[in-house]
């Protein structure tokens, strides 16, 4: 499941917290991904519309647009979107499921699990381009 060296899979990391952003970039790059960053939901939406990412790893609670709002705006996968949250509201969780988020990770998460979920999300998709999330 490891990506090949020649064609790196791309991940967009979106989080308003600089520390989280930085560590996630380092972890994912070390795992062999090509990583871009965005500091809020608005920037993420602009980037995602202009560029193709295999996976978007995005916090829910953010300024400008929340992760769930970005998910709703980018309605058709790919890319697969993995959401992260420190403490999500019931309503946001429901909406995230309705818009077919690939997975929702609760902070803090185990890196092994993060890498597993990102790898699953980045794996080539089937015909209709969507697979159920990992929960």
């Amino acid at each position: 499941m490891k990506p090949t060296v020649l064609v790196k899979q791309t991940v967009l990391v979106v989080d308003d917290a600089a520390g989280m952003r930085q560590t996630l970039v380092d972890i994912l790059e070390a795992a062999g991904y090509s990583v871009s960053i965005a500091v809020d939901g608005g920037a993420a939406l602009a980037l995602a519309r202009g560029e193709r990412f295999d996976v978007i790893l995005m916090d829910i609670q953010m300024p400008v647009l929340t992760g769930v709002e970005v998910l709703a705006a980018l309605d058709h996968p790919p890319p697969q979107i993995v959401l992260m949250t420190a403490y999500a509201l019931e309503e946001q969780m429901g909406k995230a499921r309705d818009h077919q988020a690939f997975a929702i990770l609760q902070k803090p998460f185990q890196i092994a699990r993060l890498l597993h979920v990102v790898a699953e999300a980045a794996a080539p998709c089937d015909g209709n381009g969507y697979r159920p999330g990992l929960g």
């Binding site: 972890i27 403490y87 019931e90 969780m93 803090p108 185990q110 699990r113």
Partner: protein, 529 residues
């Protein structure tokens, strides 16, 4: 054994009746005694009056006898002189005899007789009477005796010359006076008996107004002097001298007292019962009021507690949320540090890193419990494999030194239908709980196996254990026996299991250890893996 309870008001009423009846009884007794004493005093007065009247009458009789004796002496002290004076001075009565007797002879010889004829000489009591009169000077003497078939009284008075004595003998019928004192006569209310002697002897009875002698009942006696003799008059009253009203006054007081006592008793009973009823009512109302106050206080307390819990919840949610982000960054940084140390061979620092990771794990668990308690979330269920989740949990919360974890999992155990994050929270709570129950080390046994309709999970420690009372409280929020911890882990664990439609129970014995058993529903066959 049951005892009959007499109401206080009835006892009080009874006491009132008893007291008043007692007072009435004493009063009536005093009145009766006073009335009796007055009655006796009046009777005694009457007796004395009658005695005086008799003394006067006797004095007249003595004067008559003395006059006859004087005239007889003046006119020659012979039978002719006696006959002349007697004829003018004494009225002859039927059956009576007036005699001039000579006591100078033995037996006494009757010199002259006027009235009913007598034998020529005196015999028996008459003889003795005449001889006694001779020895007296200017005094009459009497005697009552039977003369043949007749009851008679004899009177004797000395003439003062030789052995001559004036002697009168009259027939006696004591009961003949009966009608004389009845009707409107003075003393008509009295029964009288007159005795020619100092005592009430029937032989000396001269007259009586009663068929029965001696008199019975309340009797007053008075002595009266008749010449040389003492006579006795005895009386009693046919009707009370003080009057019927006075006599019966004590009954009036007694009956009146009883009636008043009963009336007052009934009144007291009624008033006291009403008072008792009122007091009972007051007590009842007071108790109700107190009850209401207590309920109000309880409600207020509950409202306060709810408000406090809500405030705690809000604070916890805020703090928890803000802590999770830095904890996430620290976790990520630890990962990178570990990778760097592994590449550079900084093994000495790995131990410190592991410690830091463990503490972050503990902090994460506490934050998770706090957030779940503050804002319980409905589980979002997917099929979850317990084996894999247990791997993750034991990786996150590795056993401290001195503690081993034995896993006993049946192969091919069905996945459970659960919220992955919440179930991880449950396992973390149960596993770290087991660690903390064994400060001196020990073994944790985790059993996962199929159970009817689901999967059974058991976490057993060989730790300090707890008694029944403690075991019954472990699922209550903020209950903790540990020096560290806020007492939410097991409360949250139970809430999550209940929300999943599962069950959790605990069995424990002090010094032996504790087992938590969790039952979870299995994922429906055919659901996504």
């Amino acid at each position: 054994m049951t005892s009959i309870r007499i109401p206080t008001y009835r006892l009080a009423a009874f006491v009132v009746v008893v007291v008043i009846v007692s007072i009435a009884s004493v009063g009536s007794l005093l009145i009766r005694n006073a009335v009796r004493s007055e009655e006796h005093r009046l009777l005694q007065e009457r007796a004395s009056e009658i005695g005086l009247i008799l003394t006067e009458a006797f004095s007249g009789l003595q004067t008559q006898m003395a006059t006859v004796a004087g005239e007889t002496q003046l006119n020659g002290a012979d039978a002719r002189a006696f006959m002349a004076s007697t004829a003018t001075l004494i009225t002859a009565q039927p059956g009576s005899s007036t005699v001039l007797a000579d006591a100078g002879t033995d037996p006494v010889r009757f010199v002259a007789v006027i009235g009913t004829a007598l034998p020529p000489t005196a015999v028996g009591p008459a003889d003795a009477l005449i001889r006694r009169a001779l020895n007296l000077r200017a005094e009459i003497t009497t005697s009552v005796f039977d003369e043949g078939s007749a009851h008679v009284i004899g009177l004797a008075y000395p003439v003062g010359v030789g052995g001559l004595v004036i002697y009168r003998q009259l027939p006696l019928d004591p009961s003949a006076a009966g009608s004389a004192t009845s009707g409107s006569q003075p003393f008509h209310e009295l029964t009288v008996a007159l005795y020619a002697g100092p005592t009430q002897e029937k032989a000396t009875l001269i007259l009586t107004t009663s068929g029965q002698v001696p008199l019975r009942g309340s009797v007053a006696v008075a002595s009266t002097t008749f010449g040389a003799d003492q006579w006795l008059v005895a009386i009693n009253a046919t009707s009370p001298l003080v009057g019927n009203f006075a006599t019966n006054a004590f009954w009036l007081v007694l009956v009146g007292g009883v009636v008043v006592a009963l009336a007052l008793g009934a009144l007291a009973d009624s008033l006291l019962r009403r008072r008792e009823h009122t007091l009972t009512l007051v007590d009842q109302r007071t108790a109700e009021l107190r009850d209401s106050m207590a309920k109000l206080e309880l409600a207020q307390e509950q409202v306060l507690r709810q408000a406090r819990l809500a405030a705690i919840g809000e604070l916890a949610a805020g703090v928890g949320h803000e802590l999770r982000n830095p904890l996430g960054v620290i976790t990520n940084a630890h990962y990178l540090l570990r990778a760097g140390f592994e590449q550079q061979g900084g093994n000495g620092l790995m131990r410190h890193l592991a410690l830091a990771e463990r503490e972050v794990g503990a902090a994460t668990l506490i934050v998770g419990d706090l957030l779940d308690f503050a804002g319980p979330r409905e589980p979002v269920t997917t099929p979850v494999g317990l084996h894999e989740l247990l791997d993750e949990v034991l990786d996150l919360a590795a056993p401290p030194s001195g503690i081993t974890v034995d896993r006993d999992e049946s192969a091919g155990c069905s996945p459970v239908l659960a919220d992955r994050d919440q179930l991880r929270q449950v396992l973390l709570n149960l596993i770290t709980n087991a660690y903390e129950a064994m400060p001196g080390g020990g073994a944790v046994t985790v059993v996962v196996r199929e159970a009817p309709g689901g999967v059974e999970l058991q976490v057993t420690d060989s730790g300090v254990g707890m008694d029944q009372e403690t075991a019954a409280q472990v699922f209550q929020p903020f209950f903790t026996r540990k020096a560290r911890g806020i007492g939410l882990g097991l409360a949250v664990t139970k809430r999550i299991i209940d929300a999943h439609g599962g069950g959790i129970s605990v069995t424990s014995a002090p010094g032996v250890g504790t087992t938590f058993r969790v039952d979870l529903p299995a994922a429906v066959v055919g659901a996504a893996p």
